[in-house]
């Protein structure tokens, strides 16, 4: 089987390398990708969405339908991992590996965690809400926020983290983030615009259409952030404890 797999890999590599002969030059301003749609986004992006960061505007407004489903992909991942791994039945645990118990020890780790985690969470919020102006947004902010909880449970213990952020709460956050995103789409629908046409929020918020798009982007980024944060924590809880939520890494 192995030589066969190697032949297939080699063929794929040859095919992909062959495809590069035709491609436009690296960072070529005349390439189709830079001339077809990008100028439109760059020129009109700010006037239509009041968002200086073009990436955010494209991600969360022009192609927000994609982004909705990307956050749903993340949500689906946590749901799948939970369905497959989580065991509530009390039985013989499959896990027989050595797991160090560090209850009540290691002041250094905890001290460092105490000083780093708040800063990390503030930074996550900054990344999330500053996405209009600088690189960042819901996905990145959510991941950093989730990482702070993972750090907490690494430095203390899984149980400690689960007391702070309960498993049920995590699942609710997973669904509510995506629900916030889709709900905003539905509100726009109810206001007489198309699904996810944030301009429909203008009437509710009392601002112009352009500003309403900007606010809509902010709200959906927050939804994405909540989902991603909760999913990261949920994945860690399930995978690190092997599904029994007893003790983790």
């Amino acid at each position: 089987m192995k030589p066969f797999a190697r032949i297939i890999l080699f063929l794929c590599a040859v095919m992909m390398l062959t495809a590069t002969v035709d491609l436009p030059d690296w960072a070529d301003p005349g390439s189709p990708a830079s001339t077809h749609l990008s100028p439109g986004f760059i020129e009109q992006g700010y006037h239509e969405t009041a968002t200086p960061n073009v990436v955010t505007a494209v991600l969360a407004d022009y192609r927000s339908y994609d982004t909705l489903f990307e956050s749903v992909v993340v949500f689906a991942a946590s749901l799948v991992v939970m369905l497959v791994l989580r065991r509530t039945s009390t039985g013989t645990s499959r896990i027989k590996h050595f797991r160090p118990k560090r209850e009540g020890r290691d002041t250094i780790l905890r001290g460092a965690a105490q000083s780093i985690i708040p800063v990390m969470q503030i930074f996550a919020l900054y990344v999330l809400f500053h996405g209009h102006y600088s690189p960042g947004g819901g996905f990145q902010g959510g991941v950093i926020f989730g990482a702070s909880f993972i750090l907490l449970s690494l430095c203390y213990s899984l149980k400690f983290a689960m007391q702070r952020f309960k498993e049920k709460m995590v699942l609710i956050c997973c669904a509510c983030g995506a629900l916030l995103y889709a709900g905003i789409g539905a509100v726009c629908l109810a206001m007489g615009w198309n699904f996810l046409g944030y301009a429909g929020l203008a009437g509710l918020l009392g601002v112009t259409d352009v500003m309403a798009r900007s606010h809509g982007i902010l709200a959906v980024e927050a939804g994405v952030g909540i989902t991603v944060m909760a999913v990261m924590v949920s994945l860690y809880y399930d995978l690190a404890s092997g599904g029994d939520m007893e003790e983790g890494l």
């Binding site: 499959r94 590996h97 990145q140 991941v143 995978l239 690190a240 890494l249």
Partner: protein, 87 residues
Amino acid sequence: MTWDANLLWQFDMLILLMMVICAVAALSLKGLVSSAVVTGAYSFFTCLMWTHMMAVDVAFTEAAVGAAVSTVIIVATAQYINPWSKD
């Protein structure tokens, strides 16, 4: 902040080389935990590559997801599948 194709092509090649080395190492190393760590290193080089291509958003995501969280999650998973197994 302008991109000059000729300025740092050696740097480019170096990162690509390291990425190839990491990819091969992740496949050929014994032990799942070490493979997981090398995968994290691979993600880090990918992140450098994105930064070099001026795609800061992608680099940011890669650093947060690939190099940080997914490495932790892979290691957490690997401990249940006999971390020092030979395949």
